[in-house]
Symmetry: C2
Subunit: 360 residues, 2 copies
DNA sequence: AACGACGATGACATCGTTGTCATAGCGGAG
DNA sequence: CTCCGCTATGACAACGATGTCATCGTCGTT
């Protein structure tokens, strides 16, 4: 095996170029290009020589240079901007996008937005400079019109989990309103009338929609929503936990809780445990989470399908990349109410201890 | 605002180039380059003209072209190859790498390996072609010598979670042996002598090391390891669940379980629940998981620190990228035994029902 | 008044690759 | 034997940017 070549001017990167291969094989640059790209009309002899040189020099094409020169300008990369690649929802979605991308021979660049609009702009800019072939984004800022340039430059954009604003683009969403309505209706059907809503920051569209669904179900059942039971702007587990503690200490506490998001659900579970009310106060959470079925009682949830959302978003994106220019669509991914126990508790189960052995 | 320019030959990408900006501003290409790169010696007047043109044309530099031409050849991208970006361990690690990368103005390309050596090669090749500035990988194949070319070409590689083979490189690992020894010792200290080991595929180095630690603790306590209690090659929750069911149905069942991985731990919890033995048989799992503290009993674990692993791996990588060429190092990230209840059960707690009220 | 230093600017080559075009060689039809 | 058409091959420009170098003008110094 030969040494890695160094260009005469000392700028050597330690990596062989197509030119190095050409020299080594004693053919022209273009012939190497033909072999590498599997083009017709190369004699078997040259072909063998070139392949041998490629092997010997350990040549690897430079995708940057290829992209620059090729007429289609594809980078074979798509960008994925999510809330936080470390959380279960985002990472499940990410994985589904990756699977779809793999099928297209495309790599995925990811970034976490952390509810930070500035970060959204930064990352969008970074990915623009990298000329990603497409962009899937769960937007956090209130205006995505800065992406208009991209779309105009033929880089498709797909919104996922949250709708975008200021530009038309394909959008993949959970049926948030319907799911929340269904959850609340389910609690009402089990006899509850004092149902608390615990939600994330109101600026987040999904939080608003879930609250909307909650209110719709109350209205439909002729229950007056009680302002004191509508508690938005919770974002973390500790925030939710302490708020739930407070709510349940009130003189006229709710008999059921509807939590609009994972971390809040977990906070509620912790609070109920600490108060020993986990078998007394009903609970339904929006968004499923691992081990929900192993808790005591198991937690009833409105499950989203992040994997499906990722798949659909990616499929839509690739269809656009492949030239589909029909009008943008909205894709609604259905949620599923999973009955596990916590959502089927009836009001007036106090004191909890008397009921303990009963369950199961 | 002006229309996006089209190059005369019709190859127009819809995106303005530096040349377009130069033409619009009535200056030379090089002057635009100077402005964009904030170089000295541009008159304020030209500067203003150029900025205006940039704004009007919505110019964005093409990172591919920049990388090709610049002498440092940086792409501002690092590659991260993990077991599965969708699982909690990988995604926590991913997030930590992203945070470190963000601090360096670098983007992260990710890929999931799914224990598939072929996939490892494919992705390594894809990232090589993209000329990532560095590579962090949790290897699955038995030989990474194919990466030697990369290292030689000055693209640093860092192994994380599992050691690499065939090339020297920085490596970031959990203290698997120590952690497993500690867990097993803890069970022994609580009176157990019949402790089952339930592990992942033996081909995975972490699984081997955890088994090693388990055996070391037994040996140290003068307990003869019982082959029937050493159960490797479990990889999924259902596999683990059914195996644990089987083991506990034996005539002389173990009084404690040590599970070497998350999914196995969850499988064990499910099996114990189904058999009603969750308060009778002790359990310690390797690797922490969300809600472990909310299960009944709460699950004692040997916690890893994936975020720390990601941080250290990324920091090491960036140090290398910045030119550090000291000999490769090994970084051991300590594990922590978290006592929560399941690991503190003593043998002979049958029947479980008598003890139920007692706990807490 | 002559000169050197320096600031501002642009011309041109270049990075690694592909697209376009030209051309040499060869076999077969007329 | 000539010419056509095809295959195999290479020369050269171009993609979008930066690095190098040359040039020109201005100003302070002697």
């Amino acid at each position: 095996m030969r040494e890695a070549p160094t260009t005469p001017d000392g700028r050597g990167t330690g990596r062989a170029t197509m030119n190095d291969v050409a020299r080594a094989a004693g053919v022209s640059l273009k012939t190497v290009s033909r072999v590498v790209n599997g083009e017709q009309n190369v004699s078997p002899m040259r072909m063998a020589q070139v392949r041998e040189a490629i092997e010997a020099l350990n040549y690897r094409p430079d995708l940057g240079a290829i992209t620059l020169r090729r007429s289609d300008r594809r980078t074979g990369t798509v960008a994925l901007l999510l809330e936080d690649v470390g959380n279960p929802f985002s990472s499940a979605l990410h994985r589904a996008v990756e699977d779809e991308a793999r099928a297209h021979g495309v790599q995925v660049l990811t970034g976490s937005l952390d509810e930070d609009p500035e970060r959204e702009r930064e990352l969008a800019r970074a990915f623009t400079m990298r000329r990603a072939d497409g962009l899937i984004i769960a937007p956090v800022s209130s205006d995505q019109s800065y992406l208009a340039t991209e779309i105009q430059a033929d880089t498709p954009v797909v919104f996922v989990d949250r709708p975008g604003h200021g530009i038309p683009a394909d959008t993949v969403l959970s049926t948030n309103v319907i799911g929340a309505t269904e959850a609340t209706r389910h609690l009402i059907a089990h006899g509850h009338r004092r149902i608390a809503y615990l939600g994330d920051y109101t600026r987040i569209s999904t939080a608003r929609h879930r609250q909307e669904g909650y209110l719709a179900a109350l209205r439909e059942a002729g229950i007056d929503p009680e302002p004191a039971l509508i508690i938005p702007d919770l974002h973390t587990t500790p925030m939710a936990e302490s708020k739930v503690m407070e709510v349940l200490h009130r003189t006229n506490p709710p008999t059921a809780l509807f939590t609009s998001q994972n971390l809040i659900t977990v906070g509620a579970v912790r609070a109920l445990r600490r108060l020993g009310l986990h078998h007394a106060v009903a609970l339904i959470g929006f968004d499923d989470f691992p081990l929900a079925d192993l808790l005591e009682p198991a937690v009833t949830v409105v499950a989203q399908d992040p994997a499906m959302m990722g798949s659909i978003a990616a499929q839509t994106l690739f269809r656009r990349i492949d030239g589909d220019d029909s009008p943008p669509g909205e894709y609604w991914i259905p949620t599923t109410l999973i009955r596990r126990g916590s959502g089927e508790l009836r009001p007036g189960s106090y004191p909890p201890h008397e009921r303990r052995g009963e369950s199961l």
